[in-house]
């Protein structure tokens, strides 16, 4: 028998029912909810059902909470206020563990899950948010689901799925100085396209992934959905196990030993085969900047913007032309000529402590020339950053040190761009209007965003760091 992949090993352990038609009822070990899961709770209540396994269900508000004040009564729109606060009564009514607003454990669901030890290697985890792919960095199967699926998981602790194909993306070699997980994933999406992973579960492998921190791996898995795949994973290793150890909801004592033994068995077998295998040279990746309205519209900071005439596919060419029009940019322009109006450092992509440190390293001793929001991913990230004095570095640089939440990634909580404004943003989507109607978003790493904040334009952060 051929060897198995990481994905297949975990999948096989969670099959409740495998129908002849290829449909599988998959057991769900952990379900994460957020304020936007209100539709799922509503569907459950309308159907007169309960949460089947409330102890395996966790929630935290993130999408609709403000980042400039701890007072939720300041949310002016009554519908937004209802969503931001309904999570309290929903969790109480259904017996779900809540990290409520104001609790230091509150934050972005995809930061909180790993931080609390809710996310563990070898498990299945779902959440009503497409960036649930993040959790796979710990070596689990995690994917985003819609509201009806949220209600289904609440009611049944399982979900109907078809087994996806598998894809391995190898990042070989050593990443260059100043290159982060964010640059790697944007480079991958440029290479395979925004639909390159559709229908596949992706395993990231290769020496550059093995060498990468857990935070970097989470950033890569986070943006897997931007490559069309719902599930990104990295095989658990010593780094993973060390990361999980001692977290509040992680197993302890004898149970820990059992868990570790299982986790050690998970990496893909040497003779396992994947439906697709892609390899990129990690050493060739530059700091990346997106220029258009799809994450596949990306270039290295040293490049000029591409000419649509070079795109063979006529529909993609039309999309590029439309993106140039919307973004008010021209082919051939050097990336470093693009100026920005606002900078956002945060989101489930890049709001972990390593990200905040990377931004602080660049901000230290410099001054922001545009409005800059630094939004930690959780109360605990905020506390850690403050213990390291990073908040003071940002404040001294004229930047805004905010409260945890999704903030300017999603345009529903008051943090956004005005029409026509341009951002350097560490979030994950540069779609039209994503940061507010008419907004123009460029995706970058935290260090590149901080460099844009202090120079007012895209700048190769490697040159600034060498000057430090």
């Amino acid at each position: 028998m051929a060897g198995q992949t990481l994905f297949e090993k975990i999948w096989d352990k969670h099959v409740v029912v495998a129908r002849d038609d290829g449909q599988t009822l998959l057991y769900i070990d952990r379900h994460l909810c957020h304020d936007g899961s209100i539709n799922g709770f509503g569907q459950l209540r309308a159907a007169g059902r309960k949460v089947r396994r409330p102890r395996q269900t966790f929630a935290t508000p993130d999408h609709y909470t403000p980042t400039h004040t701890s007072d939720l009564s300041t949310i002016e729109d009554p519908l937004a206020h209802e969503i931001a606060t309904a999570i309290d009564k929903n969790c109480e009514e259904f017996g779900v563990t809540l990290f409520p607003w104001g609790d230091e454990r509150q934050g972005i669901a995809h930061v909180v899950g790993p931080e609390q030890g809710i996310t563990l290697p070898g498990i299945t985890l779902v959440c009503g948010d497409s960036h649930t792919s993040t959790h796979g960095a710990l070596g689990c199967i995690s994917f985003g689901i819609g509201a009806s699926e949220v209600a289904h998981v609440m009611a049944t602790q399982a979900i109907w799925q078809r087994k996806p194909k598998t894809m391995r993306i190898n990042i070989e070699g050593t990443l260059g100085f100043g290159i982060t997980g964010k640059d790697v994933i944007i480079a991958i999406i440029r290479e395979i396209s925004a639909a390159g992973g559709t229908g596949h579960a992706i395993e990231y492998a290769g020496s550059a992934i093995r060498e990468m921190s857990m935070e970097g791996r989470m950033t890569i898995c986070n943006m897997t959905i931007e490559a069309g795949s719902r599930t990104g994973m990295v095989a658990p290793d010593d780094k993973t196990i060390e990361y999980v150890a001692g977290r509040p909801f992680a197993p302890e004592g004898e149970k820990w030993d059992q868990a570790v033994a299982y986790w050690r068995s998970l990496p893909s077998d040497d003779d396992a085969t994947f439906d697709k295998d892609v390899t990129l040279d990690g050493g060739a990746i530059e700091p990346m900047v997106t220029w258009g309205n799809s994450p596949e519209n990306a270039v290295g900071v040293g490049e000029t913007l591409p000419d649509p005439a070079g795109e063979a596919d006529k529909d993609k060419r039309a999309a590029m032309e439309a993106a140039y029009d919307y973004m008010d940019l021209k082919p051939g322009m050097p990336v470093t000529d693009i100026t920005v109006d606002k900078v956002f450092i945060g989101a489930c992509t890049n709001a972990r402590i390593e990200d905040i440190r990377a931004a602080a390293e660049v901000a230290k001793g410099r001054k922001a020339v545009v409005q800059t929001l630094i939004v930690p991913g959780s109360g605990l990230v905020k506390k850690q950053a403050e213990a390291e004095g990073l908040d003071k570095i940002f404040i001294d640089a004229g930047m805004e040190w905010r409260l945890p939440g999704c903030s300017m990634c999603v345009g529903v909580n008051g943090d956004d761009l005005r029409p026509g404004e341009r951002s350097a943003s560490t979030s994950n989507r540069n779609f039209r209007g994503r940061q507010g109607p008419g907004s123009r978003t460029h995706l970058v790493s935290p260090a590149m965003a901080a460099a844009a904040a202090v120079t007012g334009r895209f700048t190769d952060v490697r040159e600034m760091k060498q000057g430090n």
Binding site: K13, H14, V15, V16, V17, R19, D21, G22, Q23, L25, Y27, D29, N39, A47, R49, L79, A80, E82, I83, G122, I123, G128, S130, F143, G144, G146, S148, E149, H152, A155, T156, Q157, A158, W160, P164, A194, A195, T198, I225, G228, S229, R230, P251, Q258, N293, S294, E296, D315, K316, A318, A319, V410, V412, P419, R429, F431, R432, G433, R434, P437
Partner: protein
């Protein structure tokens, strides 16, 4: 959900590669209830309306007869991006019951099947042909027969499509997943007991 058996309507060609769910319904409308009288207007809102609320006359969905169409024919990676099921509610609110595209965002595809909207994957060249026909002949009709798994284009050309037997059965009967899953309760209980025994550290 409403069952889907056969459906015929005129088609709306949407010539946008990677048409993400933020384009289908911008995030600021996600807070609004499906019962909101304005809900249908949220479809393609920022592509359809200027900042002052006036319609952009060139956008396909603002043109007659496309604005009354019940079928979208799209391009690569339709519905990529966010998991928002609202991107399906807003189709249903406008009477759109089927989408044909060369590829779909995986989450959006699943969301469609939960709300009685039929997602149909066809070859990209066939999608291109259908969109061209819809541009050439506004109001041209497309017909679906889910049981037979066929799409009939305006010129009578018949295209076969694939759909999982499970999704097909649910759509044909308008079944909701939860009641279907409950039929497997004994399998669930047996699975969970063994899962817990094997992975006690999870509980």
């Amino acid at each position: 959900m409403e069952a889907f058996t056969t459906f015929t309507s005129h088609g709306i060609p949407v010539d946008i590669v990677n048409c993400d769910t933020d384009q289908i319904i911008p995030a600021r409308f996600l807070r609004r209830k499906k019962t909101d009288a304005d809900y249908p207007k949220f479809l393609f809102h920022d592509l359809r309306f200027d900042a002052d609320g006036s319609e952009k006359p060139d956008f396909i969905y603002n043109k007659a007869p496309y604005r009354d169409g019940g079928i979208i024919v799209a391009d690569l990676n339709w519905g990529c991006g966010s998991s928002r099921e609202n991107a399906v509610y807003v189709l249903v609110a406008n009477g759109i019951r089927a989408v044909i595209a060369p590829s779909f965002g995986d989450i959006h595809y699943n969301n469609c099947t939960k709300q009685g909207v039929l997602p149909v994957r066809l070859e990209r060249k066939d999608c291109d042909t259908l969109r061209r026909q819809l541009h050439d002949e506004p109001g041209a009709e497309i017909a679906f027969d889910l049981e037979a798994q066929t799409v009939t284009g305006p010129d009578g050309a018949v295209y076969a499509f694939e759909i999982g037997a499970f999704d097909k059965e649910k759509l044909l009967q308008g079944l909701d997943d939860i009641s279907l899953t409950e039929q497997y309760d004994s399998e669930f209980e047996a699975f969970e007991a063994k899962h817990q025994a094997d992975h006690d550290w999870l509980y």
